[in-house]
């Protein structure tokens, strides 16, 4: 029933990279899951047990149509209703920058999941910087909206995100930065347009 979206998902480099970090038959929660294509992809590739969360009516219908278990709720209100550490991975794909409560969402991801996986557009990408220097808000494949109609609230660069992780005592286990489907290892904060991270809660140091 979801072969079509899986076929489309095959072309998503970010999905393929996420799939490399996910254990077969594990349990995945996808926050802001859209039409459920990532979960359908992971289900078909890796037999994961997946659940999506989305607040949008159209996305809810798309997920149901695609045979994806979906819970309609607003992420901003937290993940009450999901037990602590009840998922192997909690995924937030291209959604963090649109959240009001950025820290709260990250905290909830690592309460409910043993690991978090996140993707976001890198605001520090050189094409974005050039547009800013030319006096305009950046518009690109990963930031397709104009400043006046964007859902994005909290855009950040790769360096900004890593600074927040450090502040929140989040340990980054993996990072891949890509541009137009290719992995970027040299000056990723300048040359990469999309960042993909896997991370987990580090133990807080014991203070005396």
């Amino acid at each position: 029933m979801s072969t079509e979206i899986v076929r489309e998902a095959e072309n998503r480099r970010d999905f393929a990279l996420i799939a490399e970090w996910v254990q077969p038959k594990s349990k995945v929660l996808d926050l802001g899951c859209g039409d459920g294509s990532l979960l359908a992809f992971l289900r078909d590739k890796l037999e994961v047990k997946g659940y999506g969360v989305d607040k949008d009516d159209a996305n809810l219908l798309a997920c149901i149509s695609n045979g994806i278990s979906v819970i309609q709720m607003d992420l901003e209100a937290g993940l009450a209703g999901f037990d602590s550490l009840s998922f192997d991975y909690v995924v937030l794909s291209q959604t963090l920058q649109a959240m009001v409560n950025t820290e709260g969402v990250l905290r909830e991801m690592l309460r409910v999941g043993k690991q978090g996986i996140i993707t976001f557009p890198n605001f520090g990408y050189w094409r974005h910087r050039i547009q800013l220097m030319a006096g305009h808000m950046p518009v690109s494949d990963n930031l397709p909206h104009q400043w006046y109609n964007t859902p994005n609230l909290h855009l950040c660069t790769i360096d900004d995100f890593e600074a927040l992780c450090a502040k929140m005592n989040i340990r980054i286990t993996d990072r891949i930065v890509i541009n137009e489907g290719d992995t970027v290892s040299f000056m990723p904060n300048l040359l990469g347009s999309l960042a993909i991270y896997r991370f987990e809660q580090a133990a807080w140091p014991i203070s005396y």
Binding site: K27, I64, I68
Partner: protein
């Protein structure tokens, strides 16, 4: 002209059961009748059956009309029919009147074989579990081993949930709509006021009013008026009636002045002539008793662990009688068990009654979910 998406003219049937049914209370119904209707055709592999469970005042007449000139079709007609969300081209739909009801299944107004008189006050308490047990008997009678889905709203949703616990291998999907894992204290309180209205009616005669040739109409009327207040949201009432006056000006007496009063009196009167007070009392008690977690020290997740079905849970934002928070409790317990579950919180103004309304998005959710149900090669 006949609407091509209607099931058309339907006729109820009655199944007789001679095998006694032991109820949760310990009492035994020696024999019983269940009246039911079916829509669509059972496929060759008998894998496309959907059971509809009714709510407090529902019955077996869920779709179509009994006669061409019936004023209204069945109570869930907007959902059921060829091409409708619960598509009778695909599914074989069964709707029945629950035990203790007053539309043809054995209930308080039926004759008690032991006395030759109506059961009246002697009719036992029936519970959601008892209904599910009797519904399973009906499926046996119809030769249906497993349901493609069980669907219910409100008290009907409780039966759908109970089905997955009592007969886990006989139901593949459960659609639990505008329901709750048990009643809140406030809900029990509303039910108790409704019951007191009936039981203190001088025409009630402790439930044996049939032999006195009376009907506790006043009590039932008030019970229904109270019910109606709780089925609608404050906003829906405000939008529909506001402070509108029936005759344009105040009369400074106790006749109907506000449209709201007119509506409640009309609904109350209509119901009091169409429904049996003893049935109403028992339906409210069944609501009060429902609590699958109770036997598991309040642990709903543990209580639901027996289920094997996939679930669709739907709530409505303005429903304060069975609020979205109560549906989310069910969803949480299903998630704890790692069951396949989808949850829709439908933005709707109609309050609890929204589950009966043809809201396009709500119906699209049901249509989409039901369309994905596999009924095998036999269709």
């Amino acid at each position: 002209m006949q609407d091509s998406s209607s099931v058309g003219i339907v006729a109820p049937q009655t199944a007789h059961f001679q095998q006694p049914l032991t109820l949760k209370s310990g009492e035994v119904l020696p024999a019983f009748d269940i009246i039911y209707e079916t829509y669509g055709a059972l496929n060759s592999t008998r894998s496309n059956a959907v059971l509809i469970c009714h709510a407090l005042s529902g019955n077996h007449h869920a779709a179509g009309k009994h006669q061409e000139d019936d004023k209204h079709p069945g109570w869930w007609d907007n959902l059921i029919g060829p091409g409708r969300p619960l598509d009778t081209n695909k599914f074989f739909v069964i709707a029945l009147n629950n035990l203790g009801g007053c539309h043809g299944s054995t209930g308080p107004a039926s004759i008690n074989p032991a006395t030759g008189k109506p059961w009246g006050s002697q009719f036992p308490m029936v519970t959601v579990e008892d209904w599910v047990a009797s519904q399973a008997r009906l499926l046996d009678y119809l030769g249906i081993e497993q349901l493609a889905a069980v669907v219910g709203g409100s008290l009907g949703g409780m039966q759908a949930l109970q089905w997955t616990l009592d007969f886990p291998d006989r139901v593949r999907h459960a659609l639990v709509i505008a329901s709750a894992p048990n009643l809140t204290a406030q809900n029990v309180a509303f039910n108790e006021v409704a019951r007191q209205a009936i039981m203190t009616d001088p025409e009630f005669f402790d439930g044996d009013y049939y032999e006195h040739d009376t009907v506790p109409r006043r009590g039932l009327r008030i019970a229904r008026m109270l019910g109606h207040i709780t089925y609608l949201s404050d906003d829906a009432m405000g939008a529909k009636f506001g402070r509108k006056l029936r005759d344009g000006s105040l009369k400074y007496n106790f006749e109907v002045e506000f449209e709201m009063e007119s509506y409640l009196r009309y609904q109350g009167d209509k119901f009091a002539t169409a429904f049996d007070a003893n049935s109403y009392l028992r339906m409210t008690k069944a609501l009060d008793y429902f609590d699958p977690a109770f036997a598991h020290h309040g642990d709903l997740s543990l209580a639901l662990s027996k289920a094997q079905a996939d679930f669709l849970v739907v709530s409505f934002t303005s429903d304060w009688r069975f609020s979205p928070a109560r549906s989310r409790e069910i969803v949480k317990a299903l998630l704890d068990n790692e069951f396949a579950v989808s949850y829709a919180e439908v933005t709707a103004a109609h309050g609890h009654d929204a589950f009966l309304m043809p809201d396009p998005h709500y119906h699209q959710i049901l249509r989409t979910y039901l369309a994905n149900i596999n009924t095998g090669a036999g269709t």
